[in-house]
Symmetry: C2
Amino acid sequence: MIGVFDSGIGGLTIVRELLRRLPGFRLIYFGDTARTPYGTKSPETIITYAIEDTKFLLEHGAKIIVIACHSASSVATEALRERFPGVPIFEVVTPSVKKALAVTRKKIIGVIGTRATISSGVYQRKVATLAPEVKVYGNACPLLVPLVEEGWLKKPETRRIVKKCLIPLKMRGIDTLVLGCTHYPVLKPIIQAKAGKRVTLVDPAEEVAQEVVQYLERNPQIRKELAGGEEHEIYVSDLTEAFEKIARLFMGRKVLLRKADCEIAHTIKPGKI
Amino acid sequence: MIGVFDSGIGGLTIVRELLRRLPGFRLIYFGDTARTPYGTKSPETIITYAIEDTKFLLEHGAKIIVIACHSASSVATEALRERFPGVPIFEVVTPSVKKALAVTRKKIIGVIGTRATISSGVYQRKVATLAPEVKVYGNACPLLVPLVEEGWLKKPETRRIVKKCLIPLKMRGIDTLVLGCTHYPVLKPIIQAKAGKRVTLVDPAEEVAQEVVQYLERNPQIRKELAGGEEHEIYVSDLTEAFEKIARLFMGRKVLLRKADCEIAHTIKPGKI
């Protein structure tokens, strides 16, 4: 199975894209709704969570892992590859950077994301390696996630907040904008309107799905192992009506969310605080 | 020590109030920033977390427990009292209800809070027991927490969102409004302006602190045990610069946050999903 994890429900945008491009492949998803969001938390905590999420997927049959969460992709990819050396691990940052480099004409790219993603500086590092002449500017827009989760997709408050969020990037003269959080693609119309029609939006869901497709084409043996079946399993660590509603928003249709039977517990080491 | 826990940083408003009224008492705080927020999660998950938070405080010397988090107070108080039968446990809902009943003239009370708090129906149940002739209307305002955490205390977007949030309650004719989330008191000026000057705001931080003071007056032996010392310990399960900034906002001064050495881990039970 193709394993996908996310801090919550947003990663279903990537599931949707994978299912569209890879019909006939089984998929297992884990959304860590009990500890969502990741984007406000420290790199250490996000790494701990990402390792646990990956373990969950591997123990339940995943053979390759897609990190749908931008915050986890930004700070935990290296740790996951070290921890699970035999497992192909895909993340959302590199394919987004490649796409942005392919489309920018003015060589000025913008990225919006959570605080964890933007503070990590991962986009700057990747671009510096691949195309040092290109400039990258990031801006953290933490309010967009709760606005999307409330379903405020077309409200004037959302428009105003999107506009504010893009001002510092527009002032830099960006011509390409990476939507660096799973939640942002559902705001595409507003973001496009506020960014201006000359700015090309990069949707990481499309790019990472493309990456997985190409990987499977290059590795027919793995492709054969993963193919077969239409049954997808969508697990979450916490289940509420609100999460079900957001899942429908991201998948574009009703989704059966299953509560994963996992204990999420502090294990306090006495005497060490 | 007096133990206080919260889903994150917001509970420091209660710490501030306790320190003001009880100088000379030692206090230990645990903010579960690694899993914050609680208000979007299910009652089962909140109960699990609240039990772990309480254990942490008891293992580190707390003799009485104050649940600062409204979501945990709303859904987990009973479970905590069952689980820790010898421990005096204070919560924020009952004292807020008592205060609201004391000040309402028209016998119509409003409550704003997280989705978990409002869905629990706990305010309705408490009022039905104490004063069945009084009407209570609740409205979940999930966007106010991220707005406060971003420090958007005076922005026009915040004013507009507060206004929207209060409309259904104003239409009911409330004359008293319970600020049912630790984050809301920092928005008092906007909330008062949008609710109208005839609406009395109830700040649960003041009410629960008063409750603890009265309890200690009634129990001089416990008062004696808890008194002594000015050293307070403020622990969090995750530490970032943003959390430190919010802590300063809630305490009104710089606070030393210590990272609690606790593992926050999924323990996945294989074969049971």
